[in-house]
């Protein structure tokens, strides 16, 4: 695999070769059994705590 600062052509070739490999199209073949191809829902957010005003310094 090309290192990050390898010539762009090497990265392009590696990318094309990888994308042509059918094995990586099936999540069950490459991930562990508990893998779930699904996003979750963020819970309802608590109200934002108002900032406490700083102490006034008498000048």
């Amino acid at each position: 695999m090309p290192v990050p600062n390898a010539p762009l052509a090497e990265h392009k070739k590696h990318a094309q070769d990888f994308l042509a490999d059918e094995r990586f199209k099936d999540p069950k073949k490459v991930n562990r059994p508990e893998y779930r191809d699904m996003t979750d829902t963020p819970p309802e957010e608590p109200p934002e705590t108002p900032q406490k005003p700083g102490k006034r310094i008498a000048l």
Binding site: H11, A15, F18, K25, R32, P33, Y35, R36, T39, D40
Partner: protein, 190 residues
């Protein structure tokens, strides 16, 4: 310079908004895929999370899969993504460096408490869009659909994430093969 799509937040008031991290990420990926050019079909342009959601599940909400997002975006915007699972990190890096954007699955538990955190209490599976890598420090330009500055401490829009953070978050998606990423990639636009 790499084409940068418009940032789309998931909390846009549309149906299923808070479950639309996938559709929002896909909307940004589709705009990058087409470099902003309207396919001139009978669907709307630019890509929007709500339109992708309606294509995937017109009568229900819930999480989305990479395959569903790809199918919805293909129908609406003619953007046929490369959906790939168990992508080794070095290969993911090559795919981005070579000129592709990516919708990436992550575990938000890793982002929680960092300055990139877009939610005060979310630890679950999340979808983000990664546009490019910066060669000077290896950081990735991440479009997190939760980062809409709805609270004073939440960032606004795309952020440069350290590579180590993105990698840890992607690898922490439950069930992901060690050292790998699950993602779908745009066409090479460079």
């Amino acid at each position: 310079m790499v084409y940068r799509p418009t940032f789309r937040k998931q909390g846009d008031g549309s149906r299923c908004a808070w479950q639309n991290c996938g559709p929002a990420s896909q909307a940004m990926a589709s705009q990058r895929f087409r470099e902003g050019k309207d396919p001139l079909n009978h669907h709307g342009w630019p890509p929007m999370p709500s339109e992708i959601r309606n294509a995937i599940s017109p009568n229900s909400c819930g999480g989305t899969t990479l395959q569903e997002l790809d199918a919805g975006a293909l129908l609406l915007y003619n953007t046929n993504m490369w959906v790939r699972y168990g992508v080794p990190w070095a290969t993911f890096q090559s795919l981005i460096i070579s000129g592709r954007g990516a919708v990436v699955q992550i575990s938000y538990s890793v982002i929680h408490g960092t300055k990139y955190d877009g939610s005060p209490n979310f630890y679950g599976n999340h979808g983000i869009y990664v546009n490019e890598r910066r060669s000077s420090d290896g950081a990735y330009l991440v479009y997190d659909p939760l980062c809409d500055h709805r609270r004073s401490y939440i960032p606004q829009g795309p952020q440069w994430w350290p590579a180590a953070l993105l990698r840890r978050a992607a690898e922490a998606m439950p069930g992901t093969a060690p050292g790998c990423v699950n993602a779908s990639f745009t066409v090479d636009t460079e």
